[in-house]
């Protein structure tokens, strides 16, 4: 039972609960001022206090219900004047008292209004109404589809105006070349990419090369895209499981895509939008600035050993010569001092202070368990991703391209005689002609999410399970190499291993090379 004390105390205490410097002097002062107001009021207060004690906290609801029932029935809104939840327990009495006070004040206001002299101490003038107000809620407080539509038109108009005022003046069409194949994570990657490409403000031609031929699953995804032109081409060779072979096949598929651009003589900016990349819209506006060949920085997410900086640091490759690793001492000191934290790795161009391209940052992962680090040679074998480069479509035209002479012709770079994989960097004769985009490579405009399920992991068609699964066996390893040499802290729960390895009981990757895991005993058909 709560002690019944003067309402003015409650009133003051209500507001000053959070203010610790409450002056008791003030409280007594105010209560002193209120005493001569009305005995009748005190009496009513006592009656209601007793009533509350008996009836409990429903007194407020009951009385306000009574009050509401005498109000205007044509009121379109439900007036909630009391909320009965447990947190209201401390405030019930004082709220009711305040309601009383308000009505009293209203009454006195009414009489004051008629008083025409100079009001030295007026209780609020004409329209000030301090006291409890109703919380107005309309009968159906949910969004109305027509209003939502209007709002979207408004947003679209505002964004159009923004583009006109601040956006880039160039609007070359974008040609996005993507390689894909049906697998567990295709849905994850492709959905993000298709939505990104659908909202780019310029016309987009999307060339999708699918390994293993055109399939219905991929076509189902692609039907959701809103692009200017969509081309779904099939490549008959199925995608291999190993990473190195995969990248070789992808390179060949991209060359096929470029061959299509060449054949149709498409105009615009060619972007290698890998499906496992996360693009920011700024990337597509930056890509407009390219003249012939441009380079951007790609951030890497989820590479092996991301919980600390990789041992190799940054390796600069200068026209074939690999420079020694820099800042060895600094790096060691930093490692000793710092707790393990995520440091994003960036692959891309690097500039000097004048903005000229001087080298490339290349991703060089930590050496894997048991592998002797091959030193410079390993770095030399690394190549830049195709996603690092942005081309003018005319650069791959065979005729009428008017390409400058420092761009190799199609036959030279795209079909190398020795049968090696075509490298996009080979399209220019020397690095100096490459234009560096994104604030000289400092701004990372796209991210490569290196997360993949096992090559042979199964997934239900369209991710809908028709019947419940009978046997579920966790897969144990992923195509990406898992364990680096050193680990300072246990790995945080991150998609570094892909969903297929959540229950992996620590399968060891014995040699450095990615190998096909021995899974004959694990092979279970999950249909």
């Amino acid at each position: 039972m709560k002690k019944v004390t003067g309402s003015s105390h409650r009133l003051a205490r209500m507001r000053s609960k959070n203010r610790s410097g409450f002056n008791s002097e003030q409280a007594s002062e105010t209560s002193f001022r209120l005493m001569p107001v009305s005995h009748f009021r005190v009496f009513i207060q006592c009656m209601f206090c007793i009533g509350t004690l008996i009836l409990g906290f429903r007194l407020t609801t009951e009385s306000s219900f009574l009050k509401a029932s005498f109000q205007n029935p044509e009121d379109p809104f439900t007036r909630i004047s009391a909320r009965t939840d447990s947190s209201a327990s401390t405030g019930t009495e004082s709220q009711f008292d305040l309601q009383l006070r308000r009505e009293f004040a209203n009454g006195s206001k009414g009489s004051r209004l008629a008083y025409n002299g100079t009001i030295v101490h007026s209780s609020g003038g004409v329209r000030v109404d301090v006291g409890r107000h109703a919380i107005l809620i309309r009968p159906w407080p949910h969004p109305d589809p027509f209003e939502v539509l209007h709002a979207h038109h408004l947003i679209k108009r505002v964004q159009l105006e923004q583009r006109q005022l601040y956006g880039s003046k160039e609007s070359k069409p974008i040609i996005a070349i993507t390689t894909t194949f049906v697998r567990t994570f295709q849905a994850v990657h492709l959905t993000g990419l298709l939505h990104t490409l659908s909202v780019i403000p310029v016309p987009v031609t999307w060339i999708v090369m699918e390994a293993g031929g055109v399939t219905n699953e991929t076509a189902h995804f692609l039907s959701l895209a809103h692009v200017h032109r969509l081309l779904h081409l099939g490549f008959d060779i199925p995608m291999p499981a190993g990473l190195n072979e995969r990248s070789k096949l992808e390179a060949q598929m991209r060359v096929e895509g470029l061959r299509y651009v060449q054949k149709e003589k498409l105009e615009g900016v060619v972007v290698f939008a890998d499906e496992s990349n996360i693009h920011s819209l700024e990337f597509f506006t930056e890509a407009q600035k390219v003249d012939w060949v441009g380079a951007v920085s790609v951030g890497l997410l989820g590479f092996a050993g991301f919980e600390e900086s990789p041992q190799s640091g940054i390796v600069h490759v200068h026209d074939g010569r690999v420079e020694a690793r820099e800042n060895h001492i600094l790096f060691a000191a930093r490692q000793a001092a710092a707790a393990p934290r995520f440091e994003p790795q960036v692959q891309g161009p690097s500039c000097d202070s004048n903005g000229n391209l001087i080298g490339w940052h290349i991703f060089d992962p930590l050496p894997l368990e048991g592998e002797v680090h091959k030193g410079m040679r390993a770095a030399q074998n690394r190549r830049l991703e195709w996603a690092n480069f942005v081309l003018n479509a005319r650069a791959v035209w065979k005729t009428e391209g008017n390409q400058p002479e420092w761009i190799r012709s199609w036959d030279e770079w795209a079909n190398p005689e020795d049968g090696s994989t075509p490298d996009i960097k080979a399209i220019v004769r020397s690095d100096q002609w490459v234009k560096v985009l994104g604030n000289c490579g400092r701004k990372v405009l796209l991210w490569w999410l290196r997360a993949e399920a096992r090559a042979d992991s199964k997934h239900p068609n369209k991710w809908i399970l028709d019947e419940s699964l009978e046997i579920i066996v966790p897969a144990k390893s992923t195509p990406w190499p898992r364990r680096p040499v050193r680990r300072a802290a246990p790995p945080p729960p991150a998609p570094a291993g892909g969903t297929g390895t959540k229950h992996g009981a620590g399968s060891r990757v014995s040699s450095g090379k990615v190998r096909r895991p021995k899974r004959k005993q694990d092979q279970t058909n999950v249909s």
Binding site: E25, F77, S87, H133, L136, R157
Partner: protein, 419 residues
């Protein structure tokens, strides 16, 4: 032959003229970045007050101003910091005069909002006594107060309800404006029509918002504005008014109840670290009243180009005689809050773009800020402009020697104690 040539010349001229006309039209139709603001009193936003008035700053003992700052430096960063910054500005301003005989206005630097609780909220309980003590000090040490009984003096009172010196509206109304300040000009953040605490002739200023903090968080203007309505703040003041109905006169609770599941309304009580960036990605920013009708959200909305939706009946916005707020913001009556989505979505796109152009005007943004260091057109200058507009003084404010108007014993008994 000549006739043909003349005809050819004539047609050439007309076609050239038409081309010029066409080009001119194109230029005028091209997207305009921002628009000049012409207020209700003309283009007064860009007026320069220097040379139009002179202000004398009283030297008060440090217990009225500096001591408070030493005790609690938080006074310089909270939203009531205007009183400290106006003092600093006037001390270094060219309108300051050391000769009180030639001064048009007199400024008394007393920091009444610097008595903070551990939480950082100012306690106004000692403020009336402090103000009284300051006024008695200046009236005994200088003859200028008694000359007009404060008619040419101005005070900065940025608290919740101005010179009523209380945070609770009922109590503030009961107290009314401090009787000794009855004849002075008050520079305050509170402004509501037909309210006791807004004295006739007061200058309403925006609350203090840290300029460097906001200006360091700009994002590129080409970032598309994709949020329709944005608001972050309390809907129910659970500590003081858990059931709702008192806080914000129920308006904030109505916003929450009606629009909590509306995808167009990005409203929440969680304060994100990207608050300023989010405002720049929003088209409308709600500025509902709280315990008092004014809030720093208005300033933030103007700085970040988000159209303020003001939900506070009878509010008087800062510098209302210089800034045409009806053209810049959207005013929604508190009883219309349940229809807020309809009201906002039915605003025509041209009107929205017009408002955004007005907001993009740098003069507008400048007028809302108390810039450090001071810049032309900022809030300090707007205050001086407001004071300059009140000149020349009405000769009636000058009292005959020996005449007194103010009653020094007026007011609650607690205020009369010396400080």
């Amino acid at each position: 032959m000549t006739k043909d040539r003349r005809y050819g010349n004539f047609s050439l001229l007309t076609s050239f003229g038409l081309l010029l006309l066409f080009l001119c039209q194109q230029v005028s139709l091209a997207a305009v970045h921002h628009q000049r603001i012409s207020g209700s009193a003309g283009d007064v936003l860009e007026d320069n007050p220097v040379g139009r008035l002179k202000v004398f700053v009283y030297e008060l003992p440090s217990k009225y101003n500096k001591k408070w700052l030493e005790k609690d430096p938080r006074c310089l960063t909270h939203m009531f910091a205007a009183e400290e910054f106006v003092h600093d500005f006037l001390l270094a301003s060219p309108v300051r005069t050391m000769n009180p005989e030639e001064a048009d206005w007199f400024y008394t630097p007393v920091y009444t909002t610097c008595d903070l609780t551990p939480n950082g909220l100012p306690l106004p309980f000692k403020s009336p006594r402090m103000m009284r003590s300051a006024i008695s000090y200046i009236s005994t040490h200088w003859p200028f107060w008694n000359r007009t009984e404060g008619g040419d003096h101005f005070f900065v009172v940025p608290h919740d309800f101005g010179a009523c010196f209380h945070y609770q509206e009922e109590k503030a109304i009961e107290r009314g404006v401090l009787p000794l300040l009855k004849r002075s000009t008050l520079v305050q953040t509170f402004g509501q029509n037909h309210h006791v605490c807004l004295k006739e002739g007061s200058i309403v200023v925006p609350p203090y918002a840290p300029p460097e903090k906001m200006q360091s968080r700009f994002i590129p203007p080409s970032t598309p504005r994709s949020i329709f309505v944005y608001f972050r703040g309390l809907f129910y003041d659970v500590g003081n008014d858990p059931e709702g109905g008192y806080y914000a006169r129920g308006a904030r609770a109505a916003v929450w109840e009606n629009f909590k599941d509306n995808p167009l309304f990005d409203i929440s009580t969680q304060h994100p670290s990207t608050y300023y960036e989010d405002m720049q990605r929003a088209i409308f920013c709600l500025c509902p009243l709280g315990w008092a009708p004014w809030s720093p959200r208005l300033v933030e909305g103007v700085i970040f180009g988000c159209i303020p939706v003001i939900i506070a009946d009878d509010i008087v916005l800062p510098f209302a005689d210089a800034i045409p707020w009806e053209k810049i913001g959207v005013f929604v009556a508190e009883k219309d809050v349940p229809n807020l989505d309809k009201i906002l979505s039915l605003i025509s796109p041209e009107e929205v773009l017009e408002k955004q152009r007005l907001l993009a005007n740098p003069a507008m943004k400048q007028a809302m800020l108390f810039s450090q260091p001071t810049l032309p057109g900022d809030a300090f200058h707007q205050i001086l402009n407001g004071l300059a507009r009140k000149l020349p003084h009405d000769p009636q404010i000058y009292l005959k020697p020996g005449q007194t108007v103010l009653n020094w014993t007026e007011g609650p008994a607690g205020d009369l104690k010396p400080w």
